[in-house]
């Protein structure tokens, strides 16, 4: 189970709450690290961990919302689950807009918590996979020659070889060669796959006149 390798980071100023949550999470098969304040959490580098943060909204010093902002700023991709004593709509909306997984009200039910954690971890997995794919495409793009890159951008715009040849001022036959090389280098079998890879890598199409 992938989740058993995940670590849950609990940030709450109340020691009893920290202790209780830690026990529950451990009993549910997670590794747990606890922090008494946002500052305490920030002093640790947890950026590449697999897991999630359970964050108390109201704490002395930096509160939950502040910590969430800091995490986004420093590129921490751990998904955040907020805990709050009462459902404060404006704050929860703000938190959710910034990408929080859930906003749970204390005292919290174990199922709601575990469900939120489950969603958080699968989201992290998905996001990390997407990111990995993106990085792979970027790596492949590097082995394209400048000419192949230009031809590729025209291809993903849906242009025919003839149009591309006219646009770039080269023979149609040459376009065909470049095109085959692009498909090979990018490890795709169809133009559809190529378009998908380019979108993931953020490559924009160029339509020939």
């Amino acid at each position: 189970m992938t989740e058993s390798q995940a670590t849950v980071f609990v940030v709450d100023d109340d020691e009893s709450v920290r202790k209780g949550l830690a026990r529950l999470l451990r009993a549910s098969g997670y590794a747990v690290k606890t922090f008494a304040s946002a500052e305490d959490y920030l002093s640790h580098d947890n950026v590449h961990e697999v897991g999630s943060i359970i964050l108390d909204l109201s704490m002395p010093g930096l509160d939950g919302i502040d910590l969430q902002r800091r995490l986004i700023e420093r590129g921490d991709d751990l998904p955040v689950i907020f805990l709050s004593g009462h459902a404060d709509v404006p704050t929860s909306v703000k938190a959710m807009k910034r990408g929080a997984v859930d906003f749970l009200t204390k005292p919290l039910d174990e199922e709601a918590l575990l469900d939120a954690l489950h969603r958080a971890l699968s989201r992290q997995r998905r996001e990390r996979a997407e990111r990995r794919e993106q990085e792979t495409v970027r790596d492949l793009l590097h082995i394209l020659t400048p000419r192949e890159y230009e031809v590729m951008r025209c291809v993903i715009s849906g242009a025919r070889n003839k149009q591309i040849a006219a646009h770039l001022g080269i023979a149609e036959k040459t376009v065909k060669v470049h095109r085959t090389r692009v498909m090979q280098k990018m490890r795709v079998r169809s133009v559809a796959e190529l378009v998908q890879a380019c979108i993931a890598a953020g490559v924009s199409p160029v339509a020939p006149d």
Binding site: D14, S16, V17, L24, R26, K106, P107, L108, E110
Partner: protein, 591 residues
Amino acid sequence: MLGLMHLLLWLNDRRSVSYALSVLMSFAAATVALVELSLLNTLSVPEYSRLLQWQNLWVCVLLVSMVWLVYAHLGTARRWLAATITAMWSLTLVVNFAYPASVVFSEISELRRISTFRDESFTLAIGIANPWKLLPDLATVVILLYVIDAANRSWRRGARRPAGLFGGSVVLFMVLAGIHAPLVDAGVVATPYMVSFAFLAIVLAMSYELVSDAVRVSRYARQIEANERRWRSLLQKVQLAIVGVTPGGEIDYVNPFFERISGYGANDILGRPATALAPPADLQKLERALQQAGQGDPEPHSEWTLLCANGEQRKMVWSSVSLFDGEGAVSGFLGIGEDVTERLRSRAELQRTQREIERLRRVGALGELASALAHELNQPLTAILSNAQAARRFMAGGDPDLGELREIIDDIIRDDKRAGEVIHSMRAMVRKGEIDRESFAVDAAIEEVISMLGSELDGQGITIILDFDPALPEVQAGRVEIQQVMMNLVLNAANAMTQTPAGQREIKIAACGDGDGVRVTVHDTGRGLEPEEQGRLFDPFFTTRPEGLGMGLAICRRIIDSHGGRIWARDGKRGGAAFSFTLPAAKAAAA
């Protein structure tokens, strides 16, 4: 001519007795002069005698009117002297007409014609002097004395000009005439009588005085008129109600502002008793104000309601002024009233608004209370739930770690107790319950609290200084509640000194008599009070500590309030903060 002029003045101003008398005097002087002229040309004894009688009559009129003129004009003459002179002259007139040759002669023996240098001659009577002649001579002397006396007193009073003119002219010419005439009568000098010249001079001098008086009076009149215009426009336009009242308590003046606010026209209200202006409830106040003003000692400030014509009542603040006449008697008074109805109304509205704000603030505090309560209860409840669910999972896994389970249960118990404490402190805050009151010594109760807290305070390096008045009365209060207050205050003091250097942490607890009770002060050497904290210190949930619930001082205040005491905080004299409260002494509370 002068007579006519004075006649005109007199007609203009009939109140002036001076002008009437001076008309009479001028007329008499003119007549005397005419008769005297006839005397000088008379050749028969009977005719001379008759003319002499008539001349004496007019001299008498002239002198008597002059005497009363002096009396009226100078205002300093003695009335009894004037009356005496009048009586002497009346008697003289009787004698004058009883004798055939007037009061001057018993008998005229001959009429002598005497020539003057310029071919002119005049008649002079020679005869036996009448013994009654002493009477008018004496009267003349009395007149002299009378005028000198009146002028002298007038002079001293500062009215120098009229005194000088009246006194000087009368004395000078009376002396001249008074010496000359008897000499002629006695045949010592052979000149005509010149009485009329003397009289004319007196009349002229007096007329001058009276005319200049008239001029001055008209100047005063103009000034008075300007003054009056000023006062009248003030009374007309001022935004104060002004009511004039006679000493008898009748309204004799109201100004337009009064008419406007009261709805009474001047015609409706003038002549009515002032007491008609107050509603029955305020009648006594008004009567007292009227009575005070009637004694010349008005209340500078009184409040009574004005009962308007339409029955409306207006709140007024009055000041009264007594008016005095020339003799210093109260001739009436003025009530000057300010309409404060609107002001009071807006003040009442302001108070209502403040009450409403206070109510909303309390409701808000209740909301805060609920949210703080929720927070305080949520923490232990969250911990309890998590622990219980964790325990269930551990047990579901089979072969649970009993040590871990025991720890979990201990934590659950601790958190549950904590939740219970929160609820308990809330109840203490909200409770209106009965407190078992007993009579006890505050100092002993405080010492108990200190010994309870002893180890904790020692641990923080805090020195406790007790300063109890040996003659401290016992208090009537709930002992446990007061100890709770003390505990709160001492723990707060300790908490305030966490940043204070270790050697300087000191809590001084003083108790002393305070009026009918006892005052206890807890004084620390901590960070003191921020100005913005002072007003809110005793509010529920106001706290400066992250872990504070903000209930401690609120509970203290509730407890002290319920004992009829007072609790307050201020910056201490030696830095730090000082919290004080008072409690009634046992006897005072029993009474």
